[in-house]
């Protein structure tokens, strides 16, 4: 839930430069950002490995059956490569990740194979939910900002605050009950095609909505706050004094300056959406990482969750990097 909205990077202090110099600067800046996020991702991956390693219990004991002898256990440790030195396994895990090798599950399957069809489905669901969240929160935030402090503003802000703390599975159950079981408008369960993707588009609606509702609450507040901050800047005040109509002031003078904060807020929602997707997918039987993780939970299969965490960490890194670049592009030329 509570994600930070601050991004540690600061806008470059661009003086009037020739176009060539400016693009060189932008590239250098993008390189620095890339390096920063890549090193943070590497730290996360090391942290994931340490968590699995240091906590008591490993993949071999987790899947052991009752009455299994110590020799059997040792044999499976050897099969899973758990008998090798920690440092060697750490280097294997870290060097394997960039090549798409996410490790071996406790059952001996490649984690990459388990996720190859599931992860794209989750990404599709998450992307739809992120798009819906962006559209809805921008629309609601701008609508509320047209009359600051008015009844509509207070209603939107109040509703946004109310829904942002709701767990996704509670929203999902409510949606299923109303939109599926009572009215019969939308399917409550996702059926899959032969290739493992959802059979029709309307099966995506309810899972995406369940993810969107809490995140829209969260992002509407960010949009509203960013617009209010930007509305206090001198260039907006002068636009208002020039007698421009409110909606024009909003779209041409307030919104552009508020975009970096909005992009940063939406980027931090990516993590919440991926986490929420795990929960929502189990409710709708959606063929994504949620169902892979559900069986991992039953098996206490830690390598699988480590692989999923690494993969989603990479996705979130890319999105946060993009949000940083948006900030640079928007603020770089002006400030």
């Amino acid at each position: 839930m509570a994600g930070p909205l601050t991004s540690p990077t600061t806008a470059p202090t661009a003086s009037p430069l020739s176009p060539g110099k400016r693009s060189a600067r932008v590239f250098a800046r993008a390189g620095v950002l890339l390096l920063k996020w890549a090193s943070l991702l590497a730290l996360l991956l090391a942290l994931v490995f340490l968590t699995v390693e240091l906590l008591p219990g490993d993949a071999a004991t987790a899947t052991s059956e009752r009455g299994e002898s110590a020799a059997d256990l040792a044999a499976r440790r050897e099969l899973l490569g758990l008998d090798r030195p920690v440092l060697e396994r750490f280097l294997d895990w870290m060097t394997g990740l960039p090549t798409g090798d996410l490790g071996t599950s406790a059952r001996g399957e490649q984690v990459t194979d388990l996720l190859s069809s599931a992860f794209p489905n989750t990404l599709l669901l998450g992307a739809i939910a992120l798009l819906l969240t962006a559209v809805l929160s921008l629309a609601l935030g701008c609508w509320a900002a047209l009359r600051p402090g008015g009844r509509l503003d207070r209603t939107v802000s109040g509703a946004a605050t109310a829904v942002l703390a709701l767990p996704e599975f509670v929203v999902a159950v409510a949606l299923v009950l109303v939109l599926s079981l009572w009215t019969g408008w939308l399917p409550a369960v996702t059926l899959t095609d032969a290739d493992g993707s959802p059979a029709s588009w309307d099966m995506l609606v309810l899972p995406a909505l369940a993810l969107t509702v809490p995140q829209t609450g969260w992002n509407t507040r960010i949009v509203r706050a960013a617009l209010a901050d930007e509305a206090r800047t001198p260039h907006v005040e002068s636009a208002v004094l020039d007698g421009l109509p409110p909606h024009r002031v909003l779209t041409h003078h307030v919104l552009p300056g508020a975009l970096p904060a909005v992009a940063a807020g939406l980027a931090t929602s990516t993590g919440m959406l991926l986490g929420g997707a795990v929960v929502v997918e189990t409710i709708f039987n959606y063929p994504g990482i949620g169902s892979v993780l559900a069986s991992a939970v039953a098996d206490r299969d830690s390598p699988v969750i480590a692989g999923v965490t690494a993969l989603s960490g990479a996705v979130i890194t890319v999105v946060l990097l993009l949000a940083d670049l948006v900030r640079d592009v928007v603020t770089g030329g002006r400030r």
Binding site: T61, L166, V173, L177, V279, I316
Partner: protein, 274 residues
Amino acid sequence: MSTTRRRAGLAVRLLPALLLTGLALVGPWITPHAVDAPVTAPYGEAGAGGTLLGGDQLGRDVLSRLLAGGRDLVLSSLLVALLVTGTAAVLGAIGAVRPLVGRVVERIADVLMLLPAVLGILLVTLSWPGGGRLAVIAAAVVLGVPYAVRLAAGAAAPIAGAGYVEAAAAGGERLWYLVVREILPNLRAVLLALFGLRFVAAVYLVATAGFLQVGPQPPAADWALMIRENSSGILLNPWSVVAPGIAIGLLALSVNLAAATLAPQTGRKAVTVL
């Protein structure tokens, strides 16, 4: 607005959260039926066998399990919120006096931005199969502290720069004295608000862990677990799913309302405190 009216408004906003957490805490003692024995048919409809809200997937009384199923969620969340707030307060105050500590915590918070909390909980509970409830609480604390430290450090920084703290530091007072006697007492309002926000976050995480079956295990009565277990019978006895759903929803809403009330109102910027 007069002080009494403001106080009354404050009480009205805090009351739902206090009532609901209170009810969840005493609930296990006031159940009309046993929580672990069937009293009606599986998914028996409301009213059957003297049950107000019908039966669950084994025919156990939904109302009794509803009353019994909130205490652990509330207690775990309170514990997480307390631990996170306490740790963050001390670390934040230290970070304000010792900038190096502040920078390290800042980097860790950056890294944890890449780890969705739900996946973090799953990572810890699956890597630590024997951890049980302790694993969930530990994971929720570890995942919550870095964000909370940012807030606490932000609030502590101006205080650490205040004349009397600098005077005490120049006078050779030890670090713990500066933190405990000079800085923390001045952070009371911020820490109260922080506690509220962390409670909201903890309810979300602990409930989600329960739903993902890495928290309380069957046959325990738990709101999140009830939703998971009874979802296949939602058409036969909707109450078996709707009632715990409403309970979790109301808990999240009321605690969130209380937290928003406690948060310092410093204009629109206050929104980013969440």
